[in-house]
């Protein structure tokens, strides 16, 4: 190859190199931005979904704990419809006691304070009342996810408490942490 052709080749190479470097740099920035964005979006979405399960579990445990306390109150104290009303109000309104009872269960299960607090910060306590049916002589309270306790009164006196749902309470079937989906760059 003669010297002139060599010179042309060098010039063409240099031009191509410059173009390639420009393309490389611009794509690099685009890929980096896309990688960061997609990772953040997909990680946040998964973590949020997971946290939501723990939030739901915490609130369910709150309802579960209140329901047990109510059943116990009704069996150990005055067995009247009026007592049911006052016991329920006292239990629902004592938010410190509610937190203490949930926290005690979590601590007993081996969950440390830091984890409990991080869940509590997002979950708070179960909202609203656990009273889901309030008819004369027949009351029902929610005792967690898919759980209801039934109280029957006759002439204002407690006739029966059906808390079998509480005894059989099992969150394992209704709350699950899903495995993460595959990461998608696009």
């Amino acid at each position: 190859m003669d010297k002139k052709k060599m010179k042309i080749l060098v010039v063409v190479d240099v031009v191509i190199l410059v173009v390639l470097i420009v393309v490389l740099k611009s794509l690099q920035g685009g890929y980096e931005e896309q990688a960061k964005r997609t990772v953040n979006e997909q990680e946040s979405s998964y973590l949020e979904k997971n946290t939501q399960v723990l939030v739901e579990q915490w609130r369910s445990v709150d309802q579960y704990s209140m329901a047990w306390k109510l059943v116990y109150s009704m069996l150990s104290g005055a067995k009247t419809e009026a007592a049911f009303k006052s016991n329920l109000a006292a239990i629902e309104n004592d938010k410190d006691a509610r937190f203490k009872q949930i926290s005690h269960l979590y601590t007993g299960a081996g969950i440390n304070d830091a984890v409990q607090n991080s869940i509590y910060e997002k979950a708070g306590l179960a909202e609203g009342t656990i009273l889901v049916k309030n008819e004369k002589g027949s009351k029902e309270v929610a005792c967690g996810k898919n759980c209801v306790v039934k109280f029957t009164f006759v002439k204002g006196k407690l006739k029966n408490v059906d808390y079998s749902a509480l005894v059989q309470y099992n969150l394992a079937n209704s709350l699950k942490i899903e495995k993460p989906a595959e990461y998608h760059f696009e």
Binding site: A35, W68, L105, L166, Y169, K176
Partner: protein, 162 residues
């Protein structure tokens, strides 16, 4: 000669850059995937463990509550209580304090109930003492009031097991 070498080197560089151009996307995808996999796997493992531990905790807790509530409905004597305990926890037995007329059942350190009876009865043939006339079932520990309950049970002595 020098010009020839430079031309060859630059051409190699051009092909190298073209290869990099095609590979760089793969590198970013791999790095991003590694980060995503590590973060989500940690979250999956940690949160699954919390979920499972709490569910296991509920298993013990609900059975202890069930003993307390069913005791209020059906139990009269410490023998009745022992049968109820065995129904939910076949491997765990409660302990009696004849002096305090109490029976303490501890499913775990977080799940304790203390039943208080009204009187002590003694089998005339065997001399075995038991408790009768259930007065109350203390669920302070289940409510998270651990200290108060521990103090009330202090000094309890072992009684006769049924």
């Amino acid at each position: 000669m020098n010009l020839k070498n430079i031309a060859i080197a630059l051409t190699v560089l051009v092909f190298g850059l073209i290869a990099m151009l095609f590979m760089q996307k793969g590198n970013y995808v791999n790095q991003a995937k590694e980060h995503y996999d590590a973060t989500t796997a940690k979250s999956f493992k940690g949160n699954s463990m919390v979920l499972e531990l709490v569910n296991n905790g509920i298993e013990t807790n609900k059975s202890t509550w069930a003993i307390a509530c069913q005791a209020l409905q059906t139990v009269k004597t410490s023998q009745d209580m022992a049968r109820l305990e065995a129904k939910f926890f076949p491997a765990t037995k409660g302990t009696m304090s004849i002096t305090n007329k109490t029976r303490r059942f501890e499913a775990s350190s977080a799940n304790v109930i203390v039943s208080t009876f009204g009187k002590v009865e003694e089998d005339k043939k065997t001399g075995v003492k038991s408790l009768a006339d259930l007065q109350s079932v203390d669920v302070s520990v289940l409510l998270g009031n651990v200290v108060a309950s521990a103090e009330s049970d202090e000094g309890a002595e072992e009684g006769e097991e049924e």
